[in-house]
């Protein structure tokens, strides 16, 4: 076991895969000479040279599309978005090309590409820079979407993403890059579609991912003090979604609260609510509740931003509501 930061775990995964497979390369804004806007790719230019760690101009539509084309003919690109907000410009490439090439070619062409970068809120960066983009992408068949909360999963999921023969979107988090965690020495890939129980409990299940897993854990610790036992389930992978683990947990606890950044209308939380009510209806003692970013563009003002983002106290309130309803 070693202790690594989240950004180091991501970097290690990319380096190991690039050493293993010469077709893997990294492309994005400031990934090379600047060592990455958030230092995820620090040292990689020095290690692999400018042919494989490629600084791209600000042209997201261009270099995302270039990645898809290169993937069609045998390379395995890792395309970094400085933040996922800027992928909006490349949305056409991801939606119309990456996700569609395989089916519309009748299965002839694969698109083994990774799109990655920090997602969701940072701190007071305003409405255009605070998007939780996973909800848009998880809707699209043909794409896989993962969102690790811990360094070990960041490494294992990134390795799995690079080896996967489909387009995989890795949702990182600026606010998690510096967190530390244990990473097994022999860690290989973490397979997609497997959630993990990061805290066992009996009276309610909180389903979360990415930074919200940490918020959920804080809420669970606080709730324990008032005698409420909460199970925290970290999804890790949003598409494919580990329905079985979610349903098994809810059948045990009888209550479910989903926590994520991003708006409540549609999205991952709505998807999980649908599956839980369909697959565990008879076990539920309360409606499935969601704690999300409030249904408005993210404001700049610090207090209003905090008000809009899902916080520990809102998660606690939601769990209490679910538990006391039937108490």
């Amino acid at each position: 076991m070693r202790t690594l930061r989240y950004r180091e775990a991501l970097r290690e995964a990319m380096i190991e895969e690039m050493e293993r497979d010469r077709t893997v390369f990294l492309m994005g804004e400031e990934v090379g000479y600047y060592n990455g806007a958030y230092k995820v790719s620090e040292g990689m230019l020095e290690k692999f040279g400018p042919e494989r760690v490629v600084d791209a101009p600000i042209a997201e539509g261009g270099f995302a599309g270039l990645g898809v084309g290169a993937a069609m003919v045998g390379l395995r690109p890792i395309i970094e978005f400085m933040t996922w907000n800027f992928s909006a410009i490349a949305f056409d490439q991801i939606l119309n090309n990456a996700a569609k090439i395989r089916q519309m070619s009748g299965g002839q062409y694969n698109c083994p590409i990774v799109f990655r970068g920090p997602n969701a809120s940072a701190k007071q960066v305003g409405s255009q820079h605070s998007h939780a983009m996973e909800h848009f992408y998880a809707q699209v068949p043909g794409l896989k979407v993962v969102a690790p909360a811990f360094p070990a999963d960041a490494k294992g999921l990134m390795k799995a993403a690079i080896r996967d023969d489909n387009p995989v979107l890795v949702m990182e988090s600026e606010t998690l890059y510096s967190i530390k965690g244990e990473v097994p020495d022999d860690l290989d890939v973490v397979p997609f579609g497997r959630a993990q129980i990061v805290r066992p409990g009996s009276q309610a299940t909180i389903v979360a991912y990415s930074r919200m897993t940490h918020v959920a854990l804080d809420a669970a610790a606080a709730l324990e003090k008032e005698g409420i036992s909460v199970e925290v389930l970290d999804l890790r992978s949003l598409r494919p979604l580990d329905e079985d683990t979610i349903v098994a947990s809810v059948k045990k606890t009888h209550r479910c609260v989903v926590v994520h950044e991003g708006w409540p209308y549609g999205g991952v939380g709505a998807e999980i609510s649908d599956r839980v009510q369909r697959l565990a209806f008879d076990w539920l003692d309360a409606p499935v509740l969601r704690v999300t970013t409030r249904d408005v563009p993210m404001p700049y003002n610090a207090k209003l931003e905090q008000y809009c983002m899902p916080q520990v106290d809102r998660v606690i309130a939601a769990v209490r509501r679910a538990v006391h309803r039937s108490a």
């Binding site: 400031e30 000479y33 600047y34 042209a59 539509g61 909006a88 255009q128 820079h129 404001p299 003002n301």
Partner: protein, 326 residues
């Protein structure tokens, strides 16, 4: 009657005053940021003041301006009250965007400031849209659309310029070429580093010059503005400039040498303007002008400090006009 020389100096003094005001406001913003009073990203305009001031000096209040996230200076040059700018940085309700936009999103409808925008290239078609409306309404207004050298690679730039050229819209595209997009020098983002030549492919006039002398900026942009106003012909202007600070507050700027920065500071357009005034204008007037700028900056900071924060009740009515749709 004032002699021509004196009139020129009066005019230069007014431009110098705006440049100094911007410089001092930005310095105070940096200080407030270090004290945690301003959050998020903060991209300073220090070093580039002559571009915004010289360009906006050619406009009337009715004309439109739109720019990137490096927007405080241009907002001031377009007439925004310093207090409204500083209060926005502080996230206060009295800020130009009610504290909801922050540093990157300075909007000022009474002054036809169509905003600072965070997504590279995204605002360029917006500027083209304002120019389209002016032609549609035959209102004689001109739009200045500012962007960085980094935006020249992105689709919004090409589509925007292409449409404006096709439909002969009254707009001036101003590329503020400060030689870097974040940590990347222009030579590593563009195959043709003469940005103005991009105009050739779209069949519109172009110009290219250094922004060392604010009067020259005014005169050269003025020609393009007249072309837009009188002939409804767009122009692409590349103004060569330099930012003295990092890309944003979190950028230590390790990609350029101290010598390079020092060389650029020697050409500081603010100092150049002041030197001219020292030579040809009244020393007492200059001192009074500078004192008045200090007072204005101090008042702006105090206004920002003393202003209230916005309340959560503003969120729904600023999301939709009319009932909230959920």
């Amino acid at each position: 009657m004032l002699g021509r020389q004196t009139m020129d100096h009066e005019h230069l003094a007014s431009l110098y005053r705006q440049m100094l005001l911007i410089r001092r406001l930005e310095e105070e913003a940096a200080r407030a940021y270090a004290m945690g009073k301003i959050g998020g990203f903060l991209h300073l305009y220090i070093g580039q003041e002559a571009v915004g001031v010289g360009a906006c000096a050619t406009l009337t209040r009715d004309d439109y301006v739109v720019t990137t996230y490096r927007d405080h200076g241009i907002a001031i040059a377009k007439g925004m009250a310093p207090g409204a700018m500083m209060a926005e940085l502080y996230g206060k309700a009295t800020g130009c965007s009610g504290g909801l936009g922050g540093s990157m999103h300075m909007f000022d409808k009474p002054n036809n400031m169509l905003g600072g925008h965070g997504i590279i290239g995204g605002h360029i078609p917006l500027g083209v849209g304002a120019a389209f409306a002016s032609k549609y309404n035959k209102d004689g207004r001109v739009t200045l659309c500012f962007f960085g050298d980094g935006a020249v690679s992105i689709q919004g730039f090409h589509e925007g310029v292409s449409l404006a050229a096709l439909w002969k819209l009254p707009i001036v595209f101003i590329c503020e070429n400060n030689e870097y997009s974040m940590g990347t020098p222009l030579s590593r983002t563009l195959s043709q580093t003469d940005v103005s030549l991009k105009a050739v492919g779209y069949g519109i006039p172009h110009d290219r010059f250094f922004a060392t002398d604010v009067l020259e900026v005014e005169q050269r942009i003025g020609q393009a503005v007249e072309r837009a106003r009188n002939e409804s012909m767009p122009t692409l202007v590349e103004v060569r400039t330099y930012r003295f600070r990092g890309h944003s507050m979190s950028d230590p700027g390790k990609y350029r040498t101290a010598a390079e920065l020092e060389e650029q500071k020697q050409k500081d357009p603010l100092i150049q303007a002041r030197l001219k005034l020292e030579l040809g204008w009244d020393a007492a007037k200059l001192a009074a002008l500078e004192a008045s700028v200090e007072a204005e900056v101090e008042a702006a900071v105090k206004f920002a400090e003393d202003s209230p924060e916005p309340d959560a009740s503003v969120l729904e009515p600023t999301t939709y006009d009319g009932p909230f749709a959920s």
